[in-house]
């Protein structure tokens, strides 16, 4: 036991710790909401929207990958002494361990998706003569004899994957149906009929279709990744699918941790300004007008330059490259949080201004209830829906902003896997002949999927929580 344990050195990066804190917080909140009828109601409304639930399913896939990618460790070097072990400088994650060969199977340079040869001709020695041809890949399609075998092999693998995905989803569907029918205390067949007519109290059809699609996609991918580079390889021969999957964590971290920084500032200052008014309001308004007046990108750029200078002048504080990249990611989240709380704060200020004049708040004040208690019991619960809507709406914008910031050169560390860095590194490759499009394509596809899912989910949440929604129709 201790032997196996000692071959790893767990690494807790700053962002990891915050992510886990966030997960615990969210779980706590879920527990709290489940126990209160009035808090649960709008979430049940969200659960009845097909679009929102389909999006939530896709989001959860991203979240699971992101979480797996947040448990970091370093492997022990094979020939290091037992009493004083040396660890590799590479910080790996559980996700790396799960995908296994995807990370290590590195080619020489670019290769097309599902190819078995490099994308450009090279001089190779063959039978004593030097010929110019497309060299074979080391891993991609290495089991094939000739090019003609490639397409049939890919088709065969895809079909098997599709079939297995379908089978898995059928199995899941059966289990789900049995469970739901049991809970509803109706016969299995009747539940199926309700499902067919779309009369269940949740969008089971959409969820099942999405689940089937996802499982089939997973099936195809699982059968192809073992023998091919599904999205090709990049300039140094790394698998593009692996890079895209690794970037998920970066996108999620930026989308969530930034909001985590925003919330205390926006809630605290926004409510304080609206509730207390007077000079407190003036000061807080002044602060956010100043911050707001600076163009966002410039403020972020200025602050990131500052952090860069700080990291450069204190190299001994960060022992591995991963830690250095991590602190920059965290700094980016902090900076984006500090620059983006103003919108929500203004919203909360306006709402608190309205709430403080309502009768029940006045009554509470007349009874001598303290300010903190009034704010926490009467004001905050009544503005919470605004906070929630802002969180889900901001998420997608932040993920997109990461790409732009990386392009400007003030985004995440260049060594960190991110869609922004992938786009940045490959945008000039479109000028090549033949065109290297797969790296850009993969990054944009992944980013688009995450952002679209987040946007659709956010729409569902907003529609369920926004009280104005009722009037609008």
């Amino acid at each position: 036991m201790s032997e196996a344990w000692a071959s790893f050195d767990f690494v807790l990066l700053w962002t990891d710790a915050l992510i886990f804190a966030l997960v615990v917080g969210v779980l706590g909140l879920v527990f709290f909401i489940r126990r209160h009828e009035h808090l649960r109601a709008p979430w049940c409304a969200v659960a009845q929207r097909p679009m929102a639930m389909g999006a939530a399913l896709v989001l959860s896939v991203f979240v699971v990958i992101g979480l797996l990618d947040s448990v970091h460790y370093r492997e022990k070097l094979p020939d290091s002494p037992a009493d004083k072990p040396h660890y590799s400088v590479d910080v790996l994650s559980v996700f790396d361990a799960l995908v296994g060969d995807l990370r290590t199977q590195q080619e020489k340079t670019y290769s097309e998706p599902l190819a078995m040869q490099l994308y450009a001709k090279e001089f190779v020695q063959r039978d004593g003569a030097t010929v110019r041809e497309y060299p074979r890949l080391k891993f991609g399609g290495a089991h094939l004899q000739q090019e003609a075998d490639r397409m049939p092999d890919i088709t065969r693998r895809s079909l098997i994957g599709l079939a297995q995905g379908m089978a898995a989803s059928l199995l899941l569907f059966g289990l789900l149906a049995a469970w739901r029918a049991r809970r509803a205390k109706i016969p299995f067949g009747e539940w199926l009929m309700l499902l067919g007519e779309g009369r269940l109290d949740w969008p089971a059809r959409t969820v099942m279709v999405m689940l089937t699609l996802l499982l089939m996609l997973a099936g195809v991918l699982l059968h192809l990744v073992t023998a091919y580079h599904v999205f090709g390889t990049d300039k140094v021969g790394q698998d593009v699918l692996y890079l895209s999957l690794k970037s998920i964590r970066t996108g999620l971290v930026i989308g969530t941790l930034t909001t985590l920084v925003t919330l205390p500032l926006a809630i605290g200052l926004g409510i304080a300004a609206g509730y207390f008014r007077g000079w407190i309001d003036d000061v807080i308004q002044y602060i956010y007008t100043v911050l707001n007046s600076i163009p966002g990108v410039l403020l972020i750029a200025a602050a990131v330059l500052i952090v860069q200078v700080y990291v450069e002048s204190n190299p001994d504080l960060f022992d591995t490259a991963a830690r250095r990249a991590d602190i920059r990611l965290l700094a980016l989240c902090l900076i984006m949080g500090v620059t983006s709380w103003t919108g929500l704060a203004r919203l909360l200020r306006g709402e608190s201004l309205k709430l403080r004049t309502l009768d029940y708040v006045e009554a509470a004040r007349a009874f001598g209830v303290s300010h903190t208690r009034i704010i926490s019991r009467h004001i905050f619960p009544n503005v919470f829906h605004l906070v929630l809507i802002a969180i889900v709406l901001d998420f997608s914008g932040l993920v997109l902003a990461e790409a732009v910031l990386s392009y400007v050169g003030v985004g995440v560390d260049p060594s960190m896997h991110s869609w922004g860095n992938m786009i940045n590194g490959s945008r000039l490759e479109l000028a090549r002949e033949p065109v290297v499009w797969w790296q850009l394509g993969a990054a944009f596809t992944f980013m688009f999927t995450l952002v679209l899912a987040a946007n659709l989910f956010a729409d569902g949440v907003r529609d369920a929580f926004d009280p104005r929604q009722g009037i609008r129709r």
Binding site: P295, A301, V408, R427, L430, F444, F448
Partner: protein, 325 residues
């Protein structure tokens, strides 16, 4: 009215001072000029001599706030704060790392920035409003539903994708327009079309959706019901009443960004090689030219505050119920 504008202008001064102090703190206090010098010269082999020379070249070889060695008013004026931060109030930005006067650069680069940003803004506004009105006209039908879905899809696509895909297909594959570049006069038109087109398309998603909500909010109001009760046709209600009233939040929201159009767009300008303020800023950020970044921060917030004042004025102009006092 005049008194109100004057008061707003006075109110703007403390905000500009705040911005100034913030940038001063960021650029000179959090990191000393020594740190900047080390960063610029490369961390490995810097000598104290080299740092001192760099500081003299950039005029950073003075005390931050108070020069004890000078006499009289020079105690306050011969400092980094006065020379580099306070001087920005009279638009004295000093020189960038390339030795050029930043003020001159800003003046010559405003034109190209505006040549892209203004058409994007105006055409975008028209396209978005048209699209939004169409969706509102067909509200609660499948046309509206798919319109909204299309908007969400469009706004989920990265802005970088629009630019890269547009350049690749329109310029490289189909050779319709030059891929990048800029020229003055009528000849420059062909360089402007592509960035403007991409800018407009990239903005449709969020813009049209936002305007749709504004119009839908208007349509639920009492005056619309009255108009319908009078027997007006739906088209007339939409274009005569809803459009006019919906324009108030739209226009006032647009006014605030109007001055900021001078700053141009960072990404668009750098992809299309347009010699505007956006590409100037992005070059400065990438070259870590702190003086230029500082100048652009100040200019940006100045223009934003101008926009805020214009917004207030336009409110009272567009909606007579709003009185300025």
């Amino acid at each position: 009215m005049l008194a109100y504008i004057l008061r707003r202008l006075l109110y703007a001064i403390p905000i500009l001072i705040g911005v100034n102090l913030l940038t001063f703190a960021l650029f000179f206090v959090v990191n000393t000029p020594d740190d900047m010098a080390r960063m610029q010269l490369g961390a490995k082999h810097v000598t104290p001599d080299a740092i001192a020379r760099w500081k003299v070249e950039h005029g950073y070889n003075k005390p931050l706030l108070l020069n004890a060695q000078a006499s009289g008013s020079a105690q306050l004026t011969d400092t980094i704060f006065f020379k580099h931060s306070a001087a920005m109030f009279v638009f004295e930005f000093g020189k960038g790392d390339d030795g050029r006067n930043i003020g001159n650069e800003i003046r010559t680069r405003m034109g190209p920035s505006l040549a892209i940003a203004l058409p994007v803004f105006v055409i975008g506004l028209l396209v978005n409003i048209t699209f939004a009105l169409l969706m509102v006209f067909f509200r609660s039908t499948y046309l509206d539903l798919w319109g909204v879905v299309l908007c969400v899809v469009l706004m989920s696509i990265s802005g970088l994708f629009y630019i890269i895909a547009g350049q690749y297909f329109i310029s490289k594959l189909w050779n319709l327009l030059p891929i990048s570049g800029f020229a003055g006069g009528i000849d420059g038109l062909r360089f402007i079309v592509l960035p403007v087109l991409i800018g407009v398309v990239a903005g449709i998603g969020s813009g049209a959706r936002w305007y749709r909500t504004i119009f839908l909010e208007e349509i639920g109001k009492d005056y619309v019901r009255t108009a319908r009760a009078k027997g007006l046709s739906e088209v007339r209600v939409l274009f005569r009443h809803v459009l006019k009233n919906g324009m108030i939040p739209i226009l006032t929201g647009a006014v605030v960004v109007l001055p900021l159009l001078f700053m141009g767009s960072l990404i668009t300008e750098s992809f299309f090689g347009i010699p505007g303020l956006g590409s100037y800023t992005i070059d400065a950020i990438q070259a870590q030219d702190f003086a230029v970044v500082r100048a652009m921060v100040f200019l940006g917030s100045f223009l934003y505050i101008v926009g805020l004042i214009l917004t207030d004025i336009s409110y009272s102009w567009a909606d007579p119920r709003v009185r300025l006092q």
